[in-house]
């Protein structure tokens, strides 16, 4: 269970004040998968980082009693000079996972072949996403935070993502942010919209889509 209690997040630049979250209170139930819509720059990725704990709110509190993944995106956190294998080993060690099992799975899932032994700087963005995605799926979390990642890669990778999520369904939940309606409809059973600093919740995902379309 993840509980946001009166959470506000504001970014200040020299002559601008951007309100990402404005006094938001919400409870994420670990039994459901959540899809959060929001236009570009609405603060979807920031919201995921706040939920994950890699960023802190200006005010309010976030309570977590589940193991949450890092926000799964485009290979952020990988060192470009280290090989895919070395990066995988590093992250596995942080999360106390079984190294051999994780490496076996990522090697299979990402289908990087010889690239697995090459520095990440030589990877394309799709390859980095495959590595990052395979890695997070190989480590056991109660809740996965997903940041648009399924939008990259070819159809085969898309299918694998679906399969991996299907496998996790029932024992792990997921919070996915996207501005793509199709992606969220395919993966999630609860819909939310991040709109002008507020998190608007809907029990039916179609209602969330309708609200998002109207206010896009």
């Amino acid at each position: 269970m993840i509980r946001l209690s009166r959470v506000s997040k504001v970014y200040r630049t020299e002559n601008h004040r951007k309100v990402v979250l404005d006094d938001v209170t919400y409870l994420f139930d670990a039994r459901y998968t959540y899809g959060i819509f929001g236009s570009n720059g609405a603060g979807k990725s920031t919201l995921l980082r706040l939920i994950g704990g890699s960023e802190l709110p200006n005010s309010g509190q976030i309570f977590r009693d589940v193991r949450i993944s890092w926000p799964l995106g485009f290979g952020g956190g990988f060192h470009p000079l280290m090989t895919g294998r070395e990066n995988i080993k590093f992250v596995s060690r942080i999360y106390g996972a079984n190294l051999r099992r994780v490496i076996d799975f990522v090697e299979y899932f990402s289908e990087l072949g010889n690239y697995f032994e090459m520095p990440v700087s030589t990877y394309s963005s799709g390859m980095q996403a495959r590595l990052a995605f395979g890695l997070s799926m190989a480590i056991d979390f109660d809740c996965y935070l997903v940041d648009e990642i399924t939008a990259v890669g070819d159809a085969r990778f898309g299918l694998r993502c679906r399969q991996a999520f299907e496998e996790k369904r029932g024992r792990s939940s997921m919070i996915m942010v996207s501005h793509d309606i199709g992606t969220i409809k395919a993966y999630c059973d609860r819909g939310l919209v991040l709109y002008r600093g507020k998190l608007v919740a809907f029990s039916q995902i179609d209602d969330a889509i309708e609200f998002y379309r109207k206010n896009l």
């Binding site: 802190l56 060192h79 070395e86 590093f90 999360y95 106390g96 099992r101 799975f105 056991d140 024992r171």
Partner: protein
């Protein structure tokens, strides 16, 4: 899906090798947790067992260990020549200074051996200069790691501190070996005193590095200010002059420099009759501890800003 089948066969074909029994058991137990063969052929190796929750201390220890190993790997470089550089840089520094003093004919103010005097005097400075500077840069170099929610700012600093302390110990051992071999008579009065003096220097360097690393995280330009302060420390630490020979009250002012205390301590531990007029060990330890404590409190207070950067 062909490769999934391949992996499946590989795992199964390992049954004959030592240790394969546990592998098979893992595989069987995994199978209980998923009915996913219809979904994905590679399920037996994919689905991890749900592990018990780790304690906060274990999480910190795992993160520090992972960062430490990563730091070692990155410093070693692709051909492991980096390890050589780690040792060579401080040693080269030490050697150049000793040669310069030798060429200018500087006589050792204490004892008879010029090499031993300047060798042990410069040791605390070399530890300080390398250790604290590497800590100051640790957050800037490792900031992408904060992307992983289990990595905390202090984990990065502590991991770097452990690595640099280990480097320092190796450098010290090599320097002492060199001094022992090439000096006329290397015979410290108090070996444990030298060990404590070196440990205190490492502690002080770490304690100074931490607040400066935090400031650098918020104001990157601070790293330049810190680098500029290193020559000042060099001049003010009693390496190029004999602190006890400074007239009062200026010697008391200079004694406020904790690095001078480190230099004085190591000399005091080495020589039979070194004057301990300026040496104040409780001051050195209190200064370092206060510095570290204030940094830890400040880190907690400004964590939101540090993470946002």
């Amino acid at each position: 899906m062909t490769s999934g089948g391949g992996r499946f066969e590989t795992i199964q074909s390992m049954s004959g090798v030592p240790g394969a029994a546990s592998l098979d058991e893992d595989w069987e137990s995994d199978k209980l947790y998923s009915d996913a063969e219809a979904i994905m052929e590679a399920t037996p190796v994919t689905e991890p067992l749900r592990r018990p929750r780790a304690s906060p201390l274990a999480i910190n220890a795992a993160a520090i260990r992972a960062i430490l190993l990563r730091d070692i790997r990155l410093r070693a470089g692709p051909y492991y020549t980096g390890f050589l550089m780690i040792l060579l840089m401080p040693l080269a520094h030490l050697l150049i200074v000793v040669i310069i003093f030798h060429l200018f004919g500087r006589l050792a103010p204490q004892g008879t051996d010029q090499m031993v005097y300047f060798g042990i005097s410069i040791l605390p400075f070399v530890i300080y200069a390398y250790l604290s500077r590497r800590i100051v840069y640790s957050l800037a170099e490792n900031s992408p790691l904060l992307f992983f929610n289990r990595v905390k700012i202090f984990d990065i600093l502590l991991a770097r501190g452990i690595l640099e302390a280990a480097d320092s110990v190796v450098v010290i051992i090599i320097v002492i070996c060199i001094l022992d071999v090439y000096s006329n008579d290397f015979s410290p009065r108090d070996w444990p005193g030298i060990v404590f003096a070196v440990a205190a220097t490492i502690y002080f360097s770490f304690s100074i590095g931490v607040p400066n690393a935090l400031i650098t995280r918020i104001f990157p330009v601070w790293a330049i200010v810190f680098n500029l302060s290193i020559p000042v420390f060099w001049l003010a630490s009693g390496i190029v002059f004999f602190p006890t020979a400074i007239p009062e009250p200026y010697d008391r002012w200079l004694a406020l420099n904790p690095l001078l205390q480190c230099v004085e301590w190591i000399r005091y531990a080495y020589y039979e009759d070194y004057p301990d007029k300026l040496l104040n060990i409780p001051y050195l330890i209190t200064f370092s501890t206060t510095c570290l404590a204030v940094s830890l409190i400040a880190e907690r207070l400004v964590r939101r800003v540090l993470l946002t950067n």
